[in-house]
């Protein structure tokens, strides 16, 4: 999958942050999401019916409008005025027309943008559109070891960055904080994102996911199978990135996590700071 960014204003070398360079390509894939940044008023023919609101939690409200969805950035207080941006997209999020106001235009012209959507984070877009494409984002460390993907799952302070530091001598760090998993044919594919944590190494590489490891800091290094698929599911769910949850998004995400916990080997990993845990991983 590729994301193509178009804008009404010219894109220069300074427009987007350098962290995107690892992910940049000039060859769109067949599955190409188009984000079009427009710096103009929302079209007059777009009508929003409050009865078709499917999500409401400032700063976001989402409305269903025929075959489209409309996302509005709204004020936290009544009457919840729309400002900054309005997004028009189809059900699958295959395109996004983003109408940005003058404040966002100023930020765009200033450059150094840290998200492609110009939202505070691209997770909002990615997390939603992946659900419609057999995928999700997990709070995790992803690595490629000999072209095999390993996903270390855990919340903040679970040791993702520590583990990244240990593994980086032998493996390519995809991302130490947010990673994408997608089902493609019979494989689950692991990809990094540009939303990194303490370790700034990121990679646009995608590799088949061979194992999921739930991190636990310890005095010892030990790998054990998870007690059950249900346990694996619970722990994956706890680390699922949940952007603007709607009923259909949850339906698809729960299906995906159920299959993920049943089809990819899941392990509990106890590790200490000696670095010897890397031998255990390499021996898997």
């Amino acid at each position: 999958m590729t994301i193509e960014v178009k804008t009404d204003l010219p894109i220069t070398d300074q427009t987007f942050d350098s962290k995107f360079l690892s992910f940049e390509t000039n060859t769109p894939l067949e599955e190409n999401i188009v984000i079009h940044h427009r710096f103009s008023e929302t079209p007059q023919d777009i009508t929003i019916d409050p009865e078709n609101r499917i999500y409401f939690r400032p700063p976001w409200a989402i409305y269903s409008a025929g075959k489209q969805w409309i996302y509005q950035w709204i004020n936290a207080e009544p009457p919840f005025h729309n400002y900054f941006r309005t997004v028009i997209t189809d059900r699958e999020h295959s395109f996004l027309d983003i109408y940005n106001d003058k404040e966002i235009e100023k930020k765009f012209l200033k450059g150094g943008l840290t998200s492609l959507t110009l939202f505070p984070t691209d997770q909002i877009l990615l997390g939603r559109l992946l659900a419609y494409r057999n995928g999700c984002i997990l709070h995790s460390l992803g690595i490629s070891l000999d072209n095999r993907g390993y996903l270390f799952v855990g919340h903040s302070s679970a040791g993702k960055s520590t583990m990244a530091g240990i593994m980086k001598k032998d493996a390519i760090i995809l991302c130490d904080d947010r990673n994408i998993i997608r089902k493609k044919d019979n494989d689950h594919i692991l990809s990094g994102t540009w939303s990194h944590g303490d370790v700034t190494d990121v990679s646009g590489k995608s590799v088949p996911l061979k194992a999921i490891l739930f991190l636990e800091k310890s005095d010892i290094n030990q790998i054990d199978p998870v007690p059950s698929e249900q346990d694996a599911f619970n722990r994956l769910l706890a680390c699922l990135i949940r952007p603007l949850e709607t009923r259909d998004w949850w339906d698809k995400s729960l299906d995906f996590l159920t299959h993920l916990s049943q089809q990819v080997p899941c392990w509990n990993l106890k590790f200490n700071k000696t670095g010897q845990v890397s031998d255990l991983i390499k021996g898997m």
Binding site: Y55, R57, S228, E229, Q230, F233, N234, L237, A238, L240, R242, E245, T246, R247, W250, D251, L254, T258, Q262
Partner: protein
């Protein structure tokens, strides 16, 4: 709490049987204080939940549990009322208004 009352799942939750366990997640985080955005029920809780989905009264929920477990009715009623109170507080169920 009257035994004649009927409660129904909130529109803001999804309930699913996932690998044999009934799992409930709030559609919007924040309707309940869920660290992991999920509830799962034990066996009696699952019976109660199935009854709630079928719009059974509190009394009927107690009877359904009494059919499966040997326990005195007073204990069952207290357990069901406690469960319903918790689910109401968390916004997982709402009172059914016919």
């Amino acid at each position: 709490m009257s035994l004649d009352k009927i409660y129904t799942p909130s529109e803001k939750i999804i309930s699913r049987d996932i690998m044999g366990t009934l799992v409930i997640v709030p559609i919007e985080s924040g309707i309940a204080d869920l660290n992991d955005a999920m509830y799962s029920f034990n066996e009696t809780g699952t019976i109660a939940w199935n009854c709630i989905e079928q719009k059974k009264t509190v009394g009927q929920i107690c009877s359904a549990i009494a059919l499966e477990y040997e326990s005195d009715m007073e204990k069952i009623e207290n357990g069901v009322k406690n469960l319903i109170t918790t689910l109401l507080e968390k916004g997982i169920i709402v009172e059914w208004k016919n």
